[in-house]
């Protein structure tokens, strides 16, 4: 009789991944244990009375695994389908097929997931949420909690089911030409929103002025002049500087932050920056 993974085992496998993909993280094995815990209900369901087959299949998933865990759900779904095929005696599905597929997918999925989910979707939601929380209202935070978790849960559930049902075809959409068109458009959306977030929430201003001797009013207020050229000029300039240092000069974010401390210190000394504080 054709073996089929029970609904219960599939749900349990998904829940184990959804919750446990990174709970036992270490630099050495990363998501390997999350993966094993996720495959466990499936393997126990398929080979109920066959301990040897259980041992063999669990051994397959001891191989190192790490990707963007949310989008990576699709890989777990695909291996669930492959494991089912192996239980039904399909000879071309062995350790090597499964692990070369996992190794081949985890890189691209990590890249797409990091840029689309973590680098675009979450910042957009947070940007909107911050706008709703202006003045200290909890509304934005609540909006983010609800919307993000609904998207994450149902999105991951869909990826898992699609991966299981469609196998390798499920990722064709993500890495194929149509997926690329979609990705490029979403990245564009992300870029515009991030620009708006930067202009709304980041504010770098200068206190630099020049006053002619004897005059009461300064003849140059640099901040006003810059605003006349392009509002938010200094903010944009500092963002570009940070981007250039990290992307072109390969500096780590931490080093850039330390450099900003130095710039701030010198800037305060020469009067370029002055937060204008006193008791």
């Amino acid at each position: 009789m054709e073996k089929k993974i029970s609904r219960k085992a599939l749900t349990k496998a998904f829940n184990n991944w959804y919750y446990g993909n990174l709970t036992c993280f270490s630099q050495e094995h990363m998501q390997t244990f999350g993966y094993m815990v996720s495959m466990l209900p499936i393997i126990q369901d398929l080979y109920r009375d066959d301990k040897d087959a259980q041992m063999r299949s669990m051994n397959t998933y001891r191989t190192f695994f790490n990707t963007e865990p949310q989008l990576g759900t699709v890989i777990v779904g695909i291996t669930a389908g492959l494991e089912e095929a192996r239980a039904n005696g399909q000879e071309d599905v062995d350790d090597e097929t499964i692990n070369s597929l996992r190794a081949g997918l985890m890189g691209p999925i990590a890249g797409i997931g990091d840029s689309l989910v973590v680098g675009t979707l979450i910042p957009i939601l947070l940007g909107i949420a911050m706008g709703m929380s202006t003045g200290g209202s909890p509304l934005g935070a609540i909006f983010y909690i609800i919307v993000w978790n609904l998207l994450a849960y149902f999105g991951m559930k869909m990826l898992f089911v699609k991966g299981y049902e469609m196998g390798g075809k499920a990722v064709d959409f993500l890495v194929g030409p149509q997926g690329e068109a979609l990705r490029e458009s979403i990245t564009m959306l992300g870029g515009i929103v991030i620009g708006a977030v930067a202009a709304s929430w980041v504010s770098v201003t200068t206190a630099f002025t020049m006053t002619a001797s004897g005059a009461d009013e300064p003849f140059l207020v640099l901040q006003d002049t810059l605003n006349g050229v392009y509002p938010g000029f200094l903010t944009a300039a500092f963002i570009m500087l940070c981007w250039w240092l990290m992307a072109k000069k390969k500096m780590s974010p931490l080093k850039v932050m330390l450099l900003l401390v130095v710039i701030a210190f010198v800037g305060v000394l020469i009067g370029f920056f002055d937060p204008g504080l006193n008791y």
Partner: protein
Amino acid sequence: MEISWLQAAIIGLFACLSSMPGLGGTSFGNYTLGRPLVGGLICGLVLGDIQSGILVGVAMQIVYIALVTPGGTVSADVRAVSYIGVPLAMIALKSYGLSADSPDGQALATSFGTMVGTLGTVLFYGTATMNLVWQHIGWSAVEKGDFDKLYLVDMVYPWISHILFSFLPTMIMVKMGAPMVDLIKNYLPMDGLAMKTLFTVGALLPCVGIAILLKQIVAKALDFIPFFFGFTLAASLGINLVSATIIAAMFAYINYRIKMLSLMKPAAGSAVVQLEEEEEEDI
């Protein structure tokens, strides 16, 4: 601002749930509870000042808007940012008598939070290293075929790592924060060079957060155009974020349609060629 041990302990518990290998899971732990905006709401609820909590959370959220952890390398730790940084910044604001709504208040919150967050990477590496012990137990369980033990390894034992590297450091730092902030305040006057630098750094730091994000989406110089388009919408035209998102969605939609059309073009092009060939035959 007096913080009780109970309040500090609750915040410590959230630190356990929220960090990168967090016990709330990736989506709910790290990407929900770990975000400074959400941390601001929770610290605000626990400390009885939601408004300040949210304002501090928003200020720090910009720095960490794109906390991507490629291959598990971190430049800051969210549990430290959201559950040590936010409460300490709230205490500092109260102590200095600054409003969390003012630019100065936000700058102070940002530099306090970032300082703590950067130091917090120690907690991240501590947890991840200690998890190796549980994984060692896991490997021998797999070899023996004792598979159900994997649940303990993946979901229960890491609590021990978190009690040591999340719960205790957070609880102690939050509890001891108030006297420490008072000490700093007595030694560093607000109009002194040190505090002025600290505030300026606070205003500059969000640029790094935005730049990290840009690094993800900008491959060539032309990719900056969408960013500056959005920047101009907000800075020059004063359009708010929700409206800017809708305008952005329209452009993204047009872009998608154009891309899809150009994907279909090769097929359409060959049809035209075929048609021309047929016409020639007719003649």
